[in-house]
Amino acid sequence: MITNLAVEVDNLSGQRLELCYHCHQCTAGCPVVGAMDYGPDQLLRLIALDERDTVLPARDIWLCAGCYTCATHCPNEIDLAAVMDALRQIAVANGYAAGERDALLFHRLFLSVVRRLGRSHEATLLGLFKLLARAPLLNDLGAGAGLFARGKVPLLPEWSGRASAEVKRLFEQSAKK
């Protein structure tokens, strides 16, 4: 079966990428474009050209901070944040190593904590992230200690009542078919 990245992204994101005429507003407003390799509008062009092996490993899709500046200013009302989400999901589903390994790790850890507890728990999340991330272990030691000393990183997770069991079920039933 022949698949085309543009069609996959259109379908998953619900956006019509073919409407893009490369005015570059998205790239011009993107706060993290300086750290990206291509930038939003170039990514759209690469998607249109079905360059999946360029797009899906790109760090750009993991650097997107989801700020919606692009989506808000696009004259063709393309929600590029939704496109970035679709690209992340397609990359993961197709086994591409994340262009920003720590960003994907963070999302996975965050969700695994929520799945267990029904709510986030910073202490567990931070602990696991520090152990597993490539970012240096000792980064933020001072700030972390500062937050902890001020009671802002509770060691015990909150009791969330029925949320814990019900959220597990939501995860199971929301999983991709």
Binding site: A65, D85, D102, A103, A133, D140, R150, E166, L170
Partner: protein, 283 residues
Amino acid sequence: MNYSFYPGCSLHSTGLEYGLSTRAVFARLGLELVELRDWNCCGASSAHALNNTLALTLPARNLALAQMAGRDLVIPCAACYNRTKNADHVLRTDPARRREIESIVGFGFTGEIAVRPLLAVLYEDYGPARLAAQAQHSLQGLKVATYYGCLLVRPPEIAQFDDPDDPHLMADLLRPLGVEARAWSHATDCCGGGLSLSRSDVVYGLVTRLVERAREAGADAIVTACPLCQVNLEMRQRGPAPLPVFYFTELIGLALGIPEARQWWGKHLIDPRPLLRSRDLIG
């Protein structure tokens, strides 16, 4: 007036001062906040990054809880508000998705309750004039940059909050209390959000720029309405004289003369007390 309250995961942890000051201010103003029982995480950025369905079902469960409680839902965290309002929007406008979400979460969406950000509730339901009338201390002398970040205002058709390019609700609430809200350029520019751990270098860059612009505009402090922005702004400033970062509810609490306010300042990573003392706002 009473509301259902969705604190979100950070209000009892990294956003502690926000939670404390919100409750204290609402209690003083006679507005009742009833925390949603057994609420769950809204999914934040991680859910929508990895699974579109989960990104809807997680906040939809909270909508189901709020619907059962029968009161409008007030949300202090900008990200939680954005995710929950987004789910609400999809439930209202996409019949196929709605059936799928309803079946997974196990409820029938009625659309009766409104999802509202904290800032809008104070502004619309209480109002700046009434708030000013309750103030016991003027905050005159405090020059701030009011910072909204991204998710409270964008995308506009979801957030439906204020003017997405030039919001003014925070300034409108704070000005009558004596605060000088300086006009500045970066009120809705991104702080880097969830990249704080995975690419802290990017966040340092964005925060540095935000703080420079705030200083240029003559602000002594930044005031915000999002717990992630606040923690990024406090953790990722460099240099010897960082700018303090308040939650808008803390300044309101200070003006209202709420005694517990003195417990909030020590919770900040950047101690705001020297600034407050220099303006004679605390002892």
